[in-house]
């Protein structure tokens, strides 16, 4: 059974497109990234999965349950962390977390104090008096209190300072070790790189790629910097080289293709120095966005 399975999931807002033909298959226990620029359709996809939006067409199952007919069963097993946090202003953090916990059979109210201490959240403060970052801490705590099987996180770190972000990632890693599946939507690629095994890229409402993060980093474009001992006669670069720049006996280019082809070409050159750089995830995905 898959944790998340969507089939041609589509959502139109009247005439305008939200998402189109989204197909996802997220395995249980996986940390799956969902990447895209702002307005790409990440939140629309998530809000459809959560039952907040009614899909225009297509189907989706979460933990084996249909999102349209078994939404309450699904939500009992899910922890959801929204990108924007809006709670009842008149409540204190503790009241809000207790109110949230009472919706579930699996919540342990004692965890509220433990998690509040971890994230340095003042439980006595009214929601209206909390900063955005502190509201986000409240949202993090309410999303894990009931020990969910699946965590759906929409831009989870916005508003958190680096120290809290680190504690949050450690919490996620601990939850994942216990078997919790994590669906991690973000436009911050370093977060995806740190947390995720695989990621889907969404652009203009459509999935443009689903890749293994490690494969992406290994197989995709590499930056090659060379210093020649002896300049080559033909200056013909290997197939897959692009954006080359010559500076006297120095050459820099980007390479997309099998590594053995590049190595074969390099072995035929008279080189003084070779530098192969792994691009960061951001460069890789900029490639996707630009396609």
């Amino acid at each position: 059974m898959l944790a998340i399975e969507t089939n041609q999931l589509t959502k139109f807002y009247g005439e305008s497109l939200g998402i189109k033909d989204v197909n996802l298959a997220v395995n249980q226990g996986e940390v799956f990234g969902f990447i895209g620029p702002n307005g790409a359709g990440k939140s629309t996809a998530i809000r459809s999965l959560m039952g907040l939006l009614i899909p225009s067409s297509g189907t989706a199952k979460i933990l084996g349950h249909d999102i349209l007919t078994e939404g309450d069963k699904i939500r009992a097993k899910i922890g959801y962390l929204p990108s924007e946090v809006n709670y009842y202003d008149e409540m204190s953090s503790r009241e809000l977390l207790e109110y949230s916990a009472r919706f579930y059979d699996t919540s342990n109210l004692e965890d509220i104090d433990r998690l509040a201490e971890l994230f340095e959240l003042d439980l006595k403060k009214k929601i209206t008096d909390l900063s955005f970052g502190n509201k986000k801490k409240c949202a993090i705590i309410q999303s894990v209190l009931h020990k969910p099987e699946l965590l759906i996180l929409d831009e989870p770190t916005s508003g958190l300072d680096p120290l809290m972000q680190n504690r949050f990632f450690e919490l996620l890693e601990a939850e994942n070790k216990k078997g919790t599946t994590i669906f991690f939507s973000s436009h911050i690629l370093s977060e995806i790189q740190r947390m995720c095994n695989r990621a889907a890229v969404i652009r203009n409402g459509e999935i443009t790629a689903i890749e293994n993060i490690q494969d992406l980093l290994e197989k995709q474009m590499k930056k090659v910097r060379l210093v020649f001992d002896k300049m080559p006669n033909d200056q013909v670069l290997p197939e897959g080289a692009q954006h080359e720049r010559w500076n006297k006996n120095k050459l820099q280019f980007e390479y997309v293709g099998p590594v053995d082809r590049l190595v074969g070409w390099l072995s035929n050159q008279s080189l003084h120095d070779v530098v192969l750089e792994e691009p960061d995830l951001e460069s890789i995905f900029m490639n996707y966005y630009e396609r």
Binding site: M50, L52, D89, F103
Partner: protein, 268 residues
């Protein structure tokens, strides 16, 4: 129904209920407190009324009974102000009980909990019913206390009961309209204007209908036409048929609102 949400709704509306209860109790006691002095001027008031255009008296629900008994006096103001005021509270609460979550953008929190839209709807409607019955009960009790305090003569409690039962049906009917309105008006809009217009408008349509025979037909468009408070009518009794039809229509409106809610995209 979800007990957690039901209790939260009651808690959330507690302050508003207390404020409106204070207003309703104040108005009820004020109306009844005026009666003794009005009764002392009974002859003068009857002469004054005789000089008023008959259409105006009819429209306002005034007749000779208005000044001769506390129940007659109370029924005039009950129809004009009290029912309208209680309806404004319950209708506006009905209009906001679901939409407030969207307006405050808390619906995302609520609707990502393990609770179906049906359970949300039922829990909210149950708390709305309790709030409506509470304010109605509070008003009724304050009227009973007021009559006991400010009337030396005996009160016909059977007529009082008929009047208040009719009033309750009207209030509940308006409340269901409030719930339905909230399905079609943007949550950020202030509902109060629509609610006041609806309740006062219904009252004035009935007042116009009662003033002359030529305008009688417009009364069919007002809920007040079907359950009125003309207790001077010797045949005045509880109109079961109208009450059942209005409650059935109210249930139909709620069902339609639920069906709409079921398919609604939640923005906040």
């Amino acid at each position: 129904m979800n007990k957690n949400l039901f209790l939260k709704e009651l808690q959330r509306n507690k302050k508003n209920l207390m404020i409106w209860s204070g207003i309703v109790i104040g108005l009820t006691l004020m109306v009844l407190a005026i009666f003794p002095s009005m009764a002392d001027m009974g002859e003068d008031m009857a002469q004054l009324m005789a000089k008023m255009p008959a259409e105006l008296s009819k429209a306002m629900g005034m007749d000779e009974n208005t000044w001769s008994s506390i129940l007659g006096f109370y029924s005039t103001y009950y129809g004009i102000y009290i029912i309208v005021l209680v309806s404004i509270y319950t209708t506006s609460t009905g209009a906001t009980i679901l939409s407030k979550e969207e307006k405050d953008r808390t619906s995302e929190f609520l609707m990502t909990k393990p609770i179906s839209r049906l359970a949300i709807f039922k829990s909210k409607m149950a708390s709305l019913l309790i709030l409506s019955l509470l304010i109605y009960g509070i008003q009724t009790i304050s009227a009973i206390i007021g009559m006991s305090l400010f009337s030396s003569e005996s009160v016909d409690w059977s007529i009082f009961t008929v009047m208040h039962a009719s009033g309750l049906v009207l209030v509940l009917f308006f409340t269901t309209i409030g719930v339905l309105i909230s399905m079609f008006v943007k949550p950020k809009k202030n509902f109060m204007g629509i609610v006041v217009g609806l309740t006062f408008g219904s009252y004035f349509i009935n007042a116009i209908a009662k003033s002359t025979e030529s305008t009688e037909w417009v009364g069919y468009f007002s809920p007040f036409h079907y359950l009125d408070f003309t207790i001077s009518d010797p045949d005045y009794s509880f109109n079961f048929l109208s009450a059942i039809v209005m409650l059935a229509i109210g249930a139909g409106l709620l069902f339609f609102a639920y069906k709409t809610y079921l398919k609604k995209d939640i923005d906040g």
